[in-house]
Amino acid sequence: MNTQPVTISFDGRPLAAAAGQSVGAALASQGITAWRSTRKGGKPRGLFCGIGVCFDCLVTVDGEPNQRACLVEACDGMEVEGS
């Protein structure tokens, strides 16, 4: 496993991650389990299927909205925002 540490930001706060780790994994391993609210019910959502099928874990990455956190690999300086 690659353990080379990188720093990403989540909603403006710095977050330690390992290079190549998925953004979802970086968030979950810091105890962040939800980063999005549903449109209708405002319910919290995070990882579910973990393999890019369910689109529950959507985040904005470097300004690009609706990216699947389980697929995006974290890299140094990446800006991640929930919605």
């Binding site: 496993m1 080379q4 998925s22 209708k40 919290p44 990882l47 299927c49 369910c54």
Partner: protein, 477 residues
């Protein structure tokens, strides 16, 4: 227009079936292109930590990988063919549309991750081998939309790719032998598995043992898990289900109950597990059928209730030149997927010749074993009884069980197509990939399982992946 890659054989997927198909096709003399959503070969089954900047990682067996030596062998042959220019490898791309015009198959692709830098290409091929695999089949359970609830396979993928755990204290539930490696993988990675809840019963295996006996490797696998379970003191509770996930804005515990053979909850058996932060569910697998269905492949219902593509002994579908391998022909695991992939790749490379199928007896044996597993681990007939009217069924569009049964009973939504129209279940981001099976059951009625037509309707996804309007605008023919 994106660049066009023209080859003899295109392969979609680089998991066990896709890798095997690509290797077999190229070694039979074909020029091959492989399109895969992943950034590196392996698929879900052989998912591993990113190789970039880590030469040699592929040689180290990560946690919980079976058949790793098979992977290393296929990977070496795949890499050799790439180096020799006989395989064009297109990672990080999803096919958003597959077309069959005249004699050629055309695949249109888009980057799976916008920031990945993967450049979409169009692939044109004389023959096509589809190996898109599958994902955990899900049933809606009260509270399953809380953060902390995950697909069992999602937990496994998380561990394989990231080497860390998504939480500390786990309950794994559902049905099928796959729950065992998931729980074992968690325990081996340092997580606490409070229980594995299997809705079926081991005694259900007994009538099918004859079929299973022909595949000794599987039995060995089972014993290895038994040892891990014993070492980590993981309770394996059969005829048990999670009836509710507890928590307000995240999973905090689960309520469980014993069930009878049909899956009906036995009164007075409720039990609560507190202090749980991850709940994993899997009810078998759903093969990814949208590409085969969009190309007009004939389908059937498999023993596990999944829609699968019909193939002949050379893995060719009802569409000439279109071959299927792996879970899309029937959920059967990685060993079978490799065998099917080898057969499909060789046949696609030389469609005119009667290349004998490699190891036909082994394929037949693994299919029998898979059928036995399906019969031993059915989706409980009474699962709809577990729902309450406010249980979310469609996670994307937040459609509840109550809304679905109302549309069925009041508006006559007795098929999945009507149900989608009336309630928006399956109309959101995932296009019914997660709720499709459950919605099809609900539209069919209490205690019912969907027929092939309903599942085929559910699998009709005219866009096989989200694609940018700007990318569509570049399409001119």
């Amino acid at each position: 227009m994106s660049t066009v890659v023209t080859v003899d054989v295109a392969v979609v997927g680089a998991g066990p079936a896709g890798l095997a198909a690509a290797v077999a096709a190229t070694e039979t003399g074909a020029r091959v292109a492989v399109v895969d959503a992943g950034n590196q070969p392996g698929g879900q089954f052989w998912r591993h930590a990113p190789e970039t900047g880590n030469p040699g990682t592929a040689d180290v067996q990560p946690h919980g990988h079976h058949g790793w030596s098979t992977y290393l062998d296929l990977r070496a042959r795949f890499d050799a063919a790439r180096s020799a220019g006989r395989i064009t490898y297109l990672p990080g791309l999803q096919v958003w549309m597959a077309q069959h015009s005249g004699d050629a198959f055309v695949l249109r692709t888009t980057a799976a991750v916008a920031s990945s830098g993967a450049t979409p290409a169009t692939v044109a091929a004389d023959r096509l081998v589809l190996c898109p695999g599958g994902y955990d089949r899900q049933l809606p359970i009260p509270g399953w939309d809380l953060p902390g609830v995950m697909a069992a396979g999602g937990i496994q993928a998380f561990i394989k790719a990231n080497g860390v755990l998504p939480g500390k204290r786990f309950v794994i539930a559902g049905t099928g032998p796959f729950l065992l490696p998931v729980a074992a993988g968690i325990a081996e990675a340092g997580g606490k598995v409070l229980a594995v809840l299997e809705s079926s019963s081991p005694s259900a295996w007994l009538p099918h043992l004859r079929a299973a006996a022909g595949v000794p490797g599987k039995a060995l696998e089972g014993m290895a898990y038994a040892a891990v379970f014993a070492r980590h003191r993981i309770p394996y509770r059969t005829r048990n289900i999670v009836t509710e996930i507890l928590g307000t804005d995240r999973a905090e515990g689960v309520r469980t109950a014993r069930v009878d053979a049909a899956g009906r909850v036995r009164p007075g058996t409720a039990r609560t597990y507190a202090d749980v932060d991850v709940v994993g569910f899997g009810w078998g697998f759903t093969p990814q059928l949208e590409l085969p269905v969009s190309l007009g492949v004939e389908t059937r219902l498999d023993a596990d209730g999944s829609l699968v593509g019909i193939v002949d002994e050379r893995q060719q579908s009802s569409v000439p030149g279109l071959y299927l391998a792996g879970e899309v022909t029937g959920v059967g695991g990685a060993t079978l997927a490799v065998l099917e992939g080898l057969a499909a790749g060789a046949a696609a490379a030389r469609p005119e010749s009667d290349v004998p199928v490699k190891q036909p007896a082994a394929i037949a044996r693994h299919r029998r074993f898979a059928q036995a597993m399906h019969h031993a681990h059915p989706v409980p007939a009474a699962w709809q009884d577990w729902l309450s009217p406010d249980t979310t069924v469609c996670r994307c569009e937040e459609v509840t069980a109550g809304e679905i049964t109302e549309a069925r009973d009041q508006l006559g939504a007795r098929d999945i197509r009507s149900l989608k129209s009336f309630t928006r279940a399956g109309m959101g981001w995932c296009q019914g990939r997660v709720c499709g099976f459950a919605s099809a059951c609900l539209s069919a009625g209490p205690g019912q399982m969907p027929d092939a037509g309903s599942l085929a309707s559910s699998a009709k996804r005219p866009l096989a992946a989200p694609v940018g309007i700007g990318e569509l605008a570049a399409q001119d023919g």
